[in-house]
Structure formats: structure tokens, C-alpha cells
Assembly symmetry: C2
Homo-oligomer: 139 residues x 2
């Protein structure tokens, strides 16, 4: 088993998946720095992402590999893969077109908690595409 020193300070990529075989991956727009979404990868999704150069995740709800954009066309071209200190989370720096969230926004993070509120949100973005037209099959 790799030591803390090797994991944190080494040059070996030793991704640490959780007990369910998954690790979180944050997609960040390589140009603007905007955080677009978080999703999960198993070993196969990670391998596919590295091999193809396009982000592939593992859908926990559908329990299957999910190549981002396979239905919507909103793919993520991976420019760089960063790993954190304990190697249990990735950042994918990606090039994208318009509209990464299935709800219609550029980013999944289109709402913020209102100042001085513990339960009220406010929208901080506007929709950039119509998901009804993009997704053939609505869930």
C-alpha cells in the first residue's frame, strides 16, 4: 500500500476510489475557470476519459457509464486532469460549448443561497439553451 508521502508528494497517479468504486470529478471550464458540474467516475470511466480525451462519468442513478454529451451533444473535451493531495478527487479542465447542465444552464451551479438566509436561493444565471429541444427523451 502506498504511503502518505508517496500519495501526496509522488509522481505516480494512484487514484483512490471509494468503497463503491467511485471518485468525484469536478468539471471546470478551462478558459473561464467556471465550475460546471460534479460527477463520479469508476475506474472504467476514468480510463475511457483518458483514452478518448472526452469526459466519461459513471451515472449513479442509472448505474452505467455515461459519456457526457452522448445524448445532448454537449461534450467535454478534456484539456488537463488534475488530482488532489490524497488522490481521491479529480478536476477535469475542459473545453465546452454552450450549456453543460441538463436543466438548461451553462453550469449546474446556477443558484446561490441568498445573503442572510438559510433556506432561500436566488438564480445567478440565465438559461442558455432549451433542454426540451435538446433531449429527445425527458426524464
Amino acid at each position: 500500500m502506498a504511503t502518505k508521502q508517496i500519495i501526496e508528494e509522488g509522481l505516480g497517479f494512484i487514484p483512490k476510489f471509494d468503497d463503491g468504486g467511485l471518485m468525484p470529478a469536478i468539471a471546470q471550464d478551462a478558459k473561464t475557470g467556471q465550475i460546471l458540474m460534479i460527477a463520479y467516475m469508476n475506474r472504467q470511466a476514468l480510463d475511457s476519459t483518458i483514452q478518448t480525451g472526452y469526459a466519461t462519468y459513471f451515472s449513479r442513478s442509472r448505474q452505467e457509464l455515461w459519456r457526457k454529451g452522448q445524448e445532448s451533444g454537449h461534450v467535454q473535451k478534456v484539456e488537463q486532469i488534475l488530482v488532489d493531495c490524497d488522490q481521491d478527487c479529480l478536476v477535469l479542465r475542459v473545453t465546452v460549448d454552450t450549456g453543460q447542465c441538463h436543466v438548461g444552464y451553462q453550469s449546474c451551479f446556477y443558484r446561490a443561497l441568498k445573503k442572510d438566509s438559510v433556506k432561500e436561493l436566488e438564480f445567478i444565471a440565465e438559461k442558455v439553451y432549451d433542454p426540451q429541444k435538446t433531449y429527445k427523451k425527458q426524464s
Copy 2:
């Protein structure tokens, strides 16, 4: 139970914790957009973060609340809390000083997978402080 429509399109903050009572929170530098770290929050950590205005997480390894910077001094002043479409992940937009990662770097994401490699990393940042001097107790 809240509908998908209410969760995704509503103005109510209904954070969805996982079976272990946790949700991931991504800390992002509010000024530069740099992703600093990912950590986890339980309900209490989230409430504490909202109430105090400083990031508090739940340490999975130590199984206790962890106010970021309580030992190192590298606190995170929370400017804005974003929530994603299905409300199971947060982005904290934070103001920070130098050095957010316990290894000595500004961000925990100080290494990237080398181009055309599946197992070799390269450093993409330099240390900004000496953790030996900052942390009284080394793990």
C-alpha cells in the same frame, strides 16, 4: 418529498445529504476562480458555515467537525454558497490567504496527469508555505 421540478427549478434550499449524512463541497477562490479543495459537510457543518461565514467541514477520517484553518490559520471566508441542480453538491466561493492545502500548496490540485500518460503525474505548482512550521502537530 420534493419533486424534481422543485429541487431543480425552485427557490428553496433543500440540500440533499447522502446515506452517510454528507455532501461534497468544493472551495473555489472567489477572486481567481482556482479550485482549492473538496471536502464534505454534514448538516451541522453546513449550518456552522452559514452562521459563522467561515467554512466548516466534516472530517471523514477524524469523524468530527473541522473548521478550516482552526489549526493552520488558513481560514476560508465564505463570500457565496452555490448549489447544483439536484442540490447534492455545493460550491463555496471563498476569500483566502496563502496556502490552502496541508501539503504546502495554494490548492490541493497541485499535480496533473502528464500528457499521453495514464500513470505519471507532474507538478503544476510550487509550495507557498512550509507546513512543518504551520502545523504544530504533524500527522
